[in-house]
């Protein structure tokens, strides 16, 4: 009986008029979302493909394929509603520990989808999305890398929105990379030729001036002026002794004290993107799994959903967005008095 019912339900849902009206409803809801504030940068952890495959008794690779379809759906929603940057966690460095078969299948999938993307350059232009791949490039096989580069190159000029694909990525690796780049930047000596004035010439000039001045000053009766000359002499000698260390061998470094959070931020892989507003993780696991640690630690709202990634659709995403909008509106309305809804959780 229930089988018949689900068959009937499926049949009705797939009939053209219903399909059309569902699509219209989706369009309307997305249009309605646009009326309020929209997060500028959303990150997704696409978790649950394998579990979905297991529970539906299909192959793992098939689960990943369905996950890709879900990603396409979500991207469409995001870009239509006006999100600027979407970051997805496609593959963690840790994932290389999975079975070779699965890793290879995932890599193949990435290659195929990306090369397929590059076949449709015109279509991509309509979305105006540019693709960027963040992560450890040297861990990827060269043939996949080629597909990646091609897709990135093709979409480089689309400026409306950005899709960041984190592919061999962990956040700790990213932060370490940023630290490394910062250190590199600061251990590069500043070029001594940057300024058109030569220090040796200046010291020479001062010295010659002092030599000129000292006999004149020697005539002056006050002894204080004499000591003045002595002072200036000593200062020239210090200048002289300093200059070979300072300017001669080009060993002036930028001051490490000028390093700030912004310096490190500018070396992260997501440099230039707006701050992360929303991070969604599916499949009910409440961990970050080394994703966007630096980016999401300030005002990002973290949302953990129970549904598996291949099932993720507008109907799961809508409440998240609406809640975010609601929160945004209330933050504007009453900045200080938001402690009212503090829910106390018991520790047990």
């Amino acid at each position: 009986m229930s089988l018949h019912l689900s068959q009937l339900r499926k049949w009705i849902l797939e009939s053209p008029p219903i399909e059309w009206s569902i699509n219209q409803l989706r369009e309307m809801l997305i249009g309605a979302l646009r009326q309020g504030p929209i997060p500028q940068h959303i990150a997704f952890v696409m978790d649950g493909n394998r579990r979905f495959a297991r529970s539906h008794k299909i192959e793992t690779v098939e689960g990943h394929n369905l996950g890709f379809e879900a990603l396409a759906r979500i991207l469409e929603i995001c870009y239509k509603s006006g999100v600027k940057v979407v970051t997805v966690y496609a593959f963690s460095i840790e994932n290389f520990k999975r079975s070779k078969y699965e890793v290879d299948a995932l890599m193949d999938m990435a290659k195929i989808k990306l090369s397929q993307l590059s076949q449709h350059g015109q279509l991509l232009e309509r979305y105006g999305a540019c693709i960027r791949v963040l992560g450890q490039r040297d861990l990827v096989k060269p043939d996949v890398l080629k597909a990646v580069d091609k897709a990135v190159e093709m979409t480089k000029n689309n400026g409306d929105c950005v899709l960041n694909i984190c592919f061999p990525y962990t956040s700790r690796d990213e932060i370490t990379g940023a630290i490394k780049k910062t250190v590199d930047e600061y251990s590069k000596p500043l070029s001594a030729q940057a300024r058109p004035f030569s220090q040796t010439r200046i010291t020479q000039k001062i010295r010659s001036k002092n030599l000129d001045a000292s006999p004149l000053r020697a005539d002056s009766p006050t002894p204080s002026s004499n000591s003045d000359v002595d002072d200036s002499f000593s200062s020239t000698t210090t200048l002289h002794t300093d200059s070979p260390n300072g300017g001669g061998e080009a060993s002036i470094y930028p001051d490490p004290e000028t390093i700030t959070t912004d310096t490190i931020e500018s070396h992260l892989l997501t440099a230039g993107d707006p701050p992360l507003d929303l991070l969604v993780r599916t499949s009910g696991v409440k961990r970050l799994s080394d994703f966007m640690l630096w980016q999401c630690h300030e005002d990002t709202e973290l949302v953990f959903l129970d549904c598996l990634w291949p099932e993720f659709d507008l109907w799961n995403f809508l409440p998240v967005l609406v809640e975010w909008q609601w929160k945004q509106k209330h933050l504007e309305d009453k900045e200080p008095a938001n402690s009212v809804k503090n829910l106390k959780t018991k520790l047990t």
Partner: protein
């Protein structure tokens, strides 16, 4: 992308054969009806061009404008409806959680007896060895009331941790006000512990990064200590232990690199991890927030792994 069933079927069949079934052109045709309109810039340019040439085009343009206006109005209406409904829903949710928590708090009240708390935890098969909590200073630092409740909360949580047998607790509070009151907090914790566990309780050490720790000797006067309670170390954290500590580490590394004591290829995840674990803390097993929305509000990024 593929929304309708028929197209999805075709797409999947194509995907199964590694996209060899259809040619790119066929695939584009498949997607055609579901694509958004081409970029508006071109659209408006074309329209402007036609307006110059033929005047009647203006009429169709204005009708389009009305349609667009109506559509916008409809969207605004739907937006308002959604948010009204959601507002009502969230009020109910807050009320529901409030009532539920109150009831549970009464049903499972611990009566300051470690045995009861121990019984509550018995059902769990794993207990974190490092628990981290994020607390908020309520009144923005004005007056002592907020600080007092904060200290009290820290003491309470420490007592629970000791009863449960969690050896490490870190307390994150954004402003770092607690760091100025380390001795007072330590006294409060000790007082709370003796009210839970009696005068004989294991040692507590309280420390903050870059602040010397305060230890208290275990008060083993009679040698009769409750078996499950272990020594506890409490760590106070604030926003400056987050990103700023990473910045400080970078400064140190840059300084070393400038003096040629280290090359940038030596910097690895393990090195950074070890340094941050040394100067701030290792990663916690469980992070507990006491707010309706999950927001890390400046929690050390490296550690919330």
């Amino acid at each position: 992308m593929p929304v309708a069933k028929r197209e999805t079927e075709i797409y999947r069949r194509d995907a199964k054969l590694n996209h060899n079934l259809l040619t790119p052109a066929e695939r584009e045709k498949l997607l055609e009806p579901y694509l958004p309109e081409p970029p508006t810039r071109q659209n408006s340019k074309a329209k402007k061009g036609s307006k110059v040439r033929v005047l009647p085009a203006e009429e169709s343009h204005s009708r389009l404008g009305i349609r667009k206006f109506l559509k916008n109005q409809l969207h605004a209406l739907v937006y308002v409806i959604i948010h009204t409904v959601f507002s009502i829903y969230i009020r109910f949710r807050v009320a529901y959680h409030g009532v539920k928590d109150r009831i549970f708090a009464i049903l499972y009240y611990h009566h300051r007896t470690p045995e009861l708390i121990q019984k509550d935890v018995k059902g769990l098969d794993r207990i974190p060895t490092h628990l981290s909590v994020i607390l908020k200073l309520e009144d923005g630092g004005k007056g002592g009331a907020g600080l007092e409740t904060l200290v009290d909360e820290v003491a309470e949580i420490s007592a629970w941790c000791m009863c449960v047998g969690i050896p490490t607790l870190s307390v994150y509070e954004k402003t770092g006000i607690l760091k100025g009151y380390v001795p007072a907090t330590h006294r409060a914790i000790t007082r709370k512990l003796s009210s839970y566990l009696g005068p004989d309780h294991p040692a507590v050490s309280l420390r903050a990064p870059h602040v010397p720790s305060i230890e208290s000797a275990a008060t083993t006067t009679t040698g009769e200590i409750i078996s499950f309670a272990k020594p506890l170390s409490v760590l106070l954290l604030s926003a400056e232990d987050g990103r700023d500590s990473i910045v400080d580490l970078t400064k140190t590394l840059a300084d070393m690199a400038q003096r040629a004591k280290l090359s940038s290829t030596d910097i690895s995840v393990d090195l950074v991890d070890a340094e941050l674990a040394e100067s701030v803390m290792g990663e916690p097993d469980l992070l507990v927030l006491f707010s309706p929305i999950v927001e890390l509000s400046g929690y050390p990024p490296w550690q919330c792994f």
